[in-house]
């Protein structure tokens, strides 16, 4: 019987079956940030087990609140920093080199097809874009990952999403994933892996695939996975060229993790996007989505472009195309947070930052900050934010605030208008 991507990865990483459906798997990478890791570090110290299973497989970043905003966040950074130093964790990213975890780790080439990755962060599913099994976990799973390099999961059942049709102009991967979450519901993929496949995914860049996989968790999925292909090889080539003679050879190696033709799926869903329009969320759940035209005219106080979902260079380029030569509404506070220093400097080289600043945006350093209401753009009660982030939960960006999730293009158009719109760039149905 054929296997899915996730099944192949699980079978090649099996350590133990403590009970029939539970697989303890070996981890290729354990990612850490300053919000969920200090609890694990302190617990390991308290238990007399302040060790790491392999300092080369642990990567750490201070990203959620950086620079620190108060004594408590400063202490979280300090705990992570001292731990990284103590255990010779070479790949540790602090002020000056730090960025949003799910943007910076792929950018450094830390994720490869067939890898198993955990992090104390639910959007770890992003890294499945590389054909890896990557799952968000809690602090205790992270702690065991740090100490032992293993994690326990139910053997994964997979839903295959075959995405077909031609992407209409002005529609982006964010709209595709919002349409999928709207269709599946917020628990439509709970305890399952989503394999994103089909001609639309084949044509997507790695960044677009990361946007899709990033929000798999919003449908409850353990991981979103895209099959490795030449796009994956091209993205990773600068990091792997010493290991393979040719790109073809790398592809053949990675292709071992592609699904078998007779792989068994829990469900196969055909998802045609030919008539998809730009989407936006309403309410407090990410499956509450509507076409922008049905939300047209809703006033916003803030527009936020950034995050692990849509803070990469392609996202900034798209937004800049809309913003070029325009001014954002006087009623709107525009905030751009490029997701990593590399994104930041490329945006600077390409003149993108100037476009944003000329339009009236504030450009902040790379950080998660406002996405989860921790810093750099928290909403006041009753305020509305058009955001390229991933969650519109009640209070997410600040108590009593409302968040509407959308693509960078729609967010940019909304900033100019002062209300939800896409009329300045979308010429669709």
């Amino acid at each position: 019987m054929g296997k899915t991507v996730a099944e192949k990865i699980f079978d090649s990483h099996l350590v133990d079956n403590p009970s029939e459906d539970i697989h303890v798997i070996r981890l290729d990478a354990v990612f850490c940030h300053e919000i969920t890791t200090p609890g694990a570090i302190n617990d390991l110290i308290a238990k007399g087990k302040d060790r790491v299973f392999d300092s080369t497989k642990i990567k750490a970043v201070i990203d959620h609140v950086t620079p620190a905003k108060d004594s408590k966040t400063a202490m979280q950074g300090k705990i992570l920093r001292q731990w990284a130093l103590r255990h010779n964790i070479y790949d540790f990213f602090d002020i000056g080199s730090n960025g949003v975890c799910h943007a910076i780790f792929p950018e450094k080439g830390f994720v490869r097809p067939g890898y198993t990755v955990i992090m104390g962060d639910s959007h770890t599913c992003t890294h499945g874009a590389f054909g890896a099994f990557a799952a968000g976990v809690g602090t205790t799973d992270l702690e065991v990952g740090i100490l032992k390099g293993v994690c326990a999961f139910h053997y994964p059942e997979t839903i295959k999403l075959n995405i077909t049709g031609n992407m209409p102009e002005g529609v982006y991967s964010k709209d595709v994933i919002l349409s999928i979450i709207g269709r599946l519901g917020v628990n439509g993929a709970t305890n399952r892996v989503i394999e994103f496949a089909g001609p639309v995914v084949d044509k997507m860049s790695m960044e677009a695939r990361m946007t899709c996989c990033n929000m798999a968790i919003e449908a409850g999925a353990t991981c979103g996975i895209c099959c490795p292909d030449m796009t994956t090889v091209e993205y990773l080539w600068e990091f792997i060229k010493g290991e393979y003679a040719t790109k073809k050879e790398a592809f053949e190696e990675f292709n071992k993790f592609s699904p078998d033709p007779d792989a068994v799926y829990e469900d196969v869903i055909e998802h045609d996007i030919s008539r998809l329009e730009p989407l936006v969320t309403f309410g407090y759940k990410p499956d509450q989505v509507k076409p922008v035209k049905e939300m047209e005219g809703i006033k916003v106080d803030q527009v936020y472009i950034g995050s692990c979902t849509n803070g990469r260079i392609e996202d900034l380029r798209v937004a800049a195309q809309v913003l070029k030569g325009e001014k954002i509404s006087d009623c709107v506070r525009g905030i751009l947070s490029p997701a990593t220093p590399k994104v930041f400097s490329r945006a600077m080289e390409e003149g993108i930052l100037k476009i944003f600043m000329d339009a009236g945006f504030c450009v902040t350093n790379p950080t998660c900050g406002a996405c989860l209401g921790m810093s750099n753009g928290v909403l006041a009660e009753g305020e509305v934010c058009a955001s390229t982030t991933n969650r519109n939960f009640n209070g997410r960006m600040g108590k009593g605030g409302m968040v509407h999730l959308m693509s960078p293009a729609t967010a940019a158009a909304t900033a100019i208008a002062g209300h939800i719109t896409n009329s300045s760039f979308y010429r669709g149905n």
Binding site: K72, G120, G136, V137, G138, T190, R391, F393
Partner: protein, 173 residues
């Protein structure tokens, strides 16, 4: 082993997310105890106010409880309020794993049973006992008693017995 019984808090809503259970602004706290006053602070539910949490030890709720963020601060905020057991029609994966990893319990019951428990007990002063030998909940209110059997996986049971995943994993791997 923790205490898995006591007074019941009914939360009649699906998709209660971890941002509602403990808002992100409190994730800068490093001690579990500091989370105590903020449990369910942003819960969107008619008639709910955080005073209702006082003295409760068990939560009964609907589908997809604990969706969203992976923050283990959600179970910790429950634990520090002496709530070690959540019963729901279904849970988000990471939240459910976090509960057992902490030696706490997240138990799924079929929709019809959850529905019946809500109809019979919600709004009443309800007390729940857990018999871990028989895998049975005994629910009592106003002279009414209902016994409900439940299943948890062997693996989850062994985490509860061991006191959590760190203890379990450290002795085996």
């Amino acid at each position: 082993m923790k205490n898995f019984g006591g007074k019941v808090l009914f939360l009649d809503r699906s998709d209660i997310n971890t941002d509602e259970i403990i808002p992100a602004k409190y994730l800068t706290e490093i001690s579990k105890g500091a989370l105590k006053p903020y449990l369910l602070e942003d819960l969107e539910l008619d008639g709910f106010h955080i005073e209702l949490i006082k003295g409760k030890n068990v939560i009964v709720t609907r589908t997809n409880f604990g969706c969203g963020s992976s923050r283990e601060h959600a179970p910790w905020a429950l634990e520090t309020n002496n709530i070690n057991l959540v019963i729901a029609e279904s849970f988000a994966r990471i939240f459910m794993q976090n509960m057992f990893n902490c030696g706490m319990m997240a138990v799924e019951l079929p929709a019809v049973i959850i529905d019946r428990v809500f109809k019979q007990f919600s709004g009443k002063d309800t007390f729940l006992e857990t018999d871990l030998q028989k895998n049975m909940f005994i629910i009592k209110a106003d002279g009414l008693t209902e016994e409900i059997s439940f299943n948890i996986s062997d693996f989850d049971q062994s985490l509860v017995d061991a006191g959590g995943w760190v203890e379990y994993a450290d002795s085996r791997y």
